[in-house]
Amino acid sequence: MEKLRVSSNPHDRSRVTTNQIMLMVVIALLPATVFGIFNFGLNAFLLTVISIVTCVLTEGIYEILMHKKLTITDFSAVVTGLLLALNLPPEAPWWIPILGGVFAILIVKQLFGGLGQNIMNPALAARCFLLLSFTGIMTDFSVSSYAQKHILDAASGSDAVSSATLLAQIKSGTAVDGTMLLDMFVGNIRGTIGETSAIALLIGGIFLVAMKIISLRIPLTYIGSFAVFYVIFGGHGIDPMYLAAELCGGGLMLGAWFMATDYVTAPVTRSGQIVYGVILGILTGIFRVFGGSAEGVSYAIIFSNLLVPLIERVTVPKAFGKGGKRHE
């Protein structure tokens, strides 16, 4: 008989692998990606491709140079590249995703030890890096003439040349109305490539929940606690129009479903995930309501990422039967 293989138990394994999970995330991001490209046009498509290629190449080249095991087939770099692209303004220059991609993979991911070791979400850290370094480019949400036809901005009639997002306009006093809300829900507004369509992001998020890739704990506590914060401090009370606009606008949906739920940078404990979601919601609320910008999701998430080790430490679950009493 040929040599028998021996190993420690268990001898069976679930068929779900890391690659499959990452691929599922890519699939879940497709509705938002396709919508963004369709909406904003060629440049959005090019940025997306450049971003993904940069991330995968950076990971591959680094691993080859460092004589590490090549892990570009696990799709994690693809996810980072795609998320980065979805966080870029549609008319950004071509070198922005290259710079961002190299920063995300090299600095945030590989230098910390590669997959699973990064302390911040690489795509978001790269976005914040770009936002601070090239604020002008990263906050210029002007669109091509092709996109102008698609984007029936509620505000575009009056202010077609404005490059500000609707969320910024609301913050500076524009009133929310029904058509505007519908536009925000569908995604016919200015914004980064992937954040505009709440419905496309929701479809992806629900897909991830249905495939058991993510649980509802983080997205729901995040969105829920943000909503509560906004009702109390937002200045509009319980006005469903403003609340809905805040939920659909900006990066909240993209952040809550796809970036706050990033396994590596979220707590592993159940109660920790709830604490994390609440912190995210409050921070996003503070940044949006009291901050200088109308947006706050990216900063809230990378800031909370840093709190994760602390959150995990105080939310270690009670072991089965721990503190059990003898039965008399």
Binding site: L4, V6, S7, H11, S76, G116, V268, P317, A319, G324
Partner: protein, 437 residues
Amino acid sequence: MGLLTFKGGIHPYDGKALSKDKPVRRLLPKGLLVYPLSQHIGAPAKPVVKKGDHVLAGQVIAEAGGFVSAPIHASVSGTVKGIEDRLTNVGTMASCIVVENDGAYESVEYHPADPEKLSKEEILTRIREGGVVGMGGAGFPTHVKLAPKEPDKIDYVLVNGAECEPYLTSDYRRMLEEPELIVGGLKIMLRLFDNAKGYICVEDNKQDCAEKLRQACQGESRIEVKVVKTKYPQGAERMMIYAATGRKINSSMLPADAGCVLDNVDTVVAIYKAVALGQPLMHRIVTVTGDAIRNPQNFCVCTGTNYAELIDEAGGFDVEPQKIISGGPMMGFALYDLNIPVTKTSSAVLCMKEDIVSQTEPSACINCGRCADVCPGRVLPGKLAVFAEHHDEENFLKYNGLECCECGCCSYICPARRPLTQAIKSMRKIALAHRKK
């Protein structure tokens, strides 16, 4: 109300269809019979025979080596060939008594008794002398388990018929074919505990067994059949006690501390045979199965029989197996040689065409938390495995490493295919050794 169960757990491929409809077939051994002196937890048994001695089936060949220990009986008649080191099913060499079968199957005279007329002490003595140990896998001497400090405080006697381990069908066949022996054994156990109720616990994928058992215990006011959810590891001691009674025990407690006594189906049958029939434990049901076996079977075999014989009797291999496991796929031991004897705790020989474990390399942990979601001990296996790899015993204990029951759910579910259970098991061994000091 939903089915009784616990939090966490997994649903691996169960493979029971291969052998579940094969009635138990009695098998006579052909070659030498080998009896390891340590087939149980506790002190190894001490041989009382020497080379050249003639022994009868049912005769004690090694006596208990202490209180937590159990005697070993010959399962055939024949001549002792010697006491030598042999490979056992846990992968180590151990001292074994080797008996050459004379084929006559002469046995000692058994002394049946009416369990209703025996005193509690007599019942325990018969169980101890019968060499009965937990046959579900751990091999804890049953007479110790059945003699807690305060027997009056035992509220539940549980018969564990979950058989949650994939591929195994020996308990299933036992419950289907001989439910009256199980009820008989449970009645004997209840004699020892005046205030206890008896529950026979079966997973809901074995409704036919539950039905048979219900019929068998009709009219028994103290006995009830409980159906629990089919989920691995439902049959783990702590999970079963929790599902059936709602009581929780941790790693530093015994079931008796929660007012419970739990024994596997086959053990309860062994109790019945030892007490009512006076027959010691020398047979057990072994499932021989897997996708590499031509004709999967359930055999009733003499302890000491060689594994290779069982495989031959099951038609041999259909295809070359990559992996052979003693026990089930979740908690069994991988074998590198088939020249191994059946012991009191051998539940199955599983022969797999492919070994999924060696087909994939572990990759980096992505912190997905699936291990924590499925862990029935409610610990964080991913973190514990890291502490174990760093030999960080302090944090390992702080994060409840001892509460792990080594069920294997975390390794099973890990998408990065990390050997979490293996790492945690090794560290637990070290930590437990330190605790004993």
